[in-house]
């Protein structure tokens, strides 16, 4: 798939609008989801997604193919988000409680309710982490980028990504363990 994406990028660079449309089809959901989680609302996420793709078309000729297209696009999206946050003086991300409204069926009602509570609280706990850490968690866990891709997208070293992820998991573990309400429903083991 990545080879296809690279070919599409080449073609789009040459002015192939159909290839550009396929690139949008491939990645706009992931980019939107990434920005939606960071921005906290649909309108800003949609606006940031449009800005991201605008910048992608602008810098597409400079894409050297040294990283994957997904990693490259996430890096651009992350920087678009950072610019937007600085421009709008939002030093802290303001996630909404979208997670709480997110239901996941398929199991028994009691168990499903407990699992949903756990997940929603865990996702909310992730959003409560420091910006650098929760952006790393978003890219690596939510967006499915590898450690190297996450590091490339954030322009940091791979060791920094590993450190942030260890720190995030430790904080989440402590946070869930300290919450009695969550303890009732959590089945997370005591060690990470």
């Amino acid at each position: 798939m990545e080879t296809d994406a690279n070919q599409l990028a080449r073609a789009a660079c040459g002015g192939d609008t159909a290839a550009g449309g396929q690139l949008i089809e491939l990645y706009y959901r992931r980019i939107y989801a990434f920005l939606r989680r960071l921005a906290g609302n649909d309108a800003d996420a949609a606006d940031l997604t449009q800005r991201t793709f605008g910048r992608i078309w602008k810098v597409l000729p400079s894409f050297e193919g040294r990283s994957s297209v997904a990693c490259w696009m996430h890096g651009i999206a992350y920087h678009v988000y950072i610019d937007w946050r600085r421009a709008s003086s939002r030093m802290e991300s303001a996630p909404d409680r979208w997670w709480l409204a997110r239901a996941d069926g398929g199991v028994a009602p009691d168990e499903a309710a407990a699992q949903n509570d756990l997940r929603a609280n865990l996702y909310a706990a992730v959003d409560g982490l420091e910006p650098d850490v929760h952006e790393t968690v978003h890219l690596h866990y939510y967006q499915g980028l590898t450690l190297q891709e996450t590091a490339d997208a954030l322009c940091v070293a791979t060791s920094t990504v590993k450190y942030r992820l260890r720190s995030a998991l430790a904080q989440l573990q402590r946070k869930l363990a300290s919450d009695p309400m969550l303890l009732k429903t959590s089945t997370i083991p005591g060690t990470i």
């Binding site: 070919q7 080449r10 073609a11 789009a12 660079c13 040459g14 002015g15 192939d16 609008t17 159909a18 290839a19 550009g20 449309g21 949008i24 089809e25 706009y28 959901r29 992931r30 939107y32 989801a33 939606r36 989680r37 649909d42 996420a45 949609a46 997604t49 449009q50 793709f53 605008g54 078309w57 602008k58 597409l60 000729p61 400079s62 894409f63 050297e64 193919g65 979208w98 997110r102 996941d104 756990l118 997940r119 865990l122 996702y123 992730v126 968690v137 866990y141 939510y142 499915g144 998991l169 989440l172 573990q173 869930l176 089945t187 997370i188 083991p189 990470i192």
Partner: protein
């Protein structure tokens, strides 16, 4: 993988709002829009290994090229040197052979060889030129010799441009210089006597020739103002005719400081046994020299 990680990996993706994809496609501004299906863009930057490594490859290639050029030059220089050596050797051999052949040809058929005749003519012309040059040099030398003789004659007569006062001053200066040289000779003779005395029982030698090892040169025994004698150049050619001074201190013990050892009959300077030289005493104040038991002393 922990359960937290598993849950995080299975996090749901917020669905994009409807119409977002359409807006994105509408806002797509590619650099050079072409028809769909074109997949090999010329403008796509595909930086190969050369683009990354050229900063290293370029100097390395230049260095390698320089090294190759230097090696080639060195090899060519060596080859040229060898060929020059070979050519010089062959040229020498040819020259020797041609000389031998020429000599043989002159012996066998001197009249038949036109080149031999030409060579002889050239050599004759060169020799004539050399003779002319030598004649000119000889005539110049003769002229110079005549001028030299004339100048010497003028000097013997006297330089016409010098006044009598100046000539007298020059004569006085020459006499002073000769007197000083004479005193210097006597001082060195005194040192020689002292050395002899130290080595031979603290008494002066009975004969001057005994202390030739202590004297650096027989010229010490010649007063420069003595026109009747000549200085001996070495001890083998020395005779009493080369000595200007009178040796009167033969066998004098070194505990008689006022005893006279040498007298210069020209300047009257005397050398005492203590090594001092009294200038002009014998000439100006002969009464100061007294003879006791046949030995001459300076009266204090």
């Amino acid at each position: 993988m922990t359960q937290i990680e598993e849950i995080l990996r299975r996090a749901p993706h917020p669905p994009p709002p409807p119409g977002l994809k359409r807006r994105l496609i509408e806002e797509m501004h590619l650099n050079s829009a072409t028809k769909p299906g074109r997949t090999t863009p010329p403008a796509f930057r595909s930086r190969g290994w050369f683009a990354r490594w050229w900063p290293i490859l370029l100097p390395a290639t230049a260095s390698l090229a320089c090294a190759m050029v230097l090696t080639l030059r060195h090899t060519e220089t060596g080859l040229l040197r060898n060929s020059v050596n070979l050519l010089s050797k062959s040229a020498e051999a040819d020259q020797t052979a041609s000389r031998a052949v020429g000599a043989a040809a002159r012996k066998e058929a001197p009249a038949d060889s036109a080149s031999g005749v030409l060579t002889e003519r050239e050599e004759t012309a060169k020799l004539k030129q050399a003779v002319q040059r030598l004649k000119t040099e000889i005539s110049q030398l003769e002229k110079l010799a005549a001028e030299n003789k004339q100048l010497q004659a003028q000097l013997a007569i006297g330089v016409p441009g010098i006044s009598p006062e100046m000539a007298k001053a020059l004569e006085d200066a020459r006499a002073r210089a000769q007197s000083i040289a004479c005193i210097n000779n006597l001082r060195q003779l005194g040192l020689a006597v002292k050395e002899w005395e130290i080595d031979h029982g603290h008494a002066a030698p009975t004969d001057l020739l005994l202390m030739t090892n202590e004297m650096s040169t027989p010229k010490l025994l010649y007063c420069p103002a003595d026109t009747s004698r000549q200085a001996a150049t070495d001890w083998r050619s020395y005779s009493s005719a080369n000595c200007s001074y009178q040796y009167v201190g033969a066998g004098a013990p070194d505990n008689e400081p006022t005893r006279v050892l040498f007298i210069c009959p020209i300047h009257g300077s005397v050398l005492l046994n203590d090594g001092s030289v009294q200038q002009g005493v014998a000439k100006n104040h002969p009464e100061d020299l007294v003879r006791i038991d046949g030995h001459l002393y300076l009266q204090q």
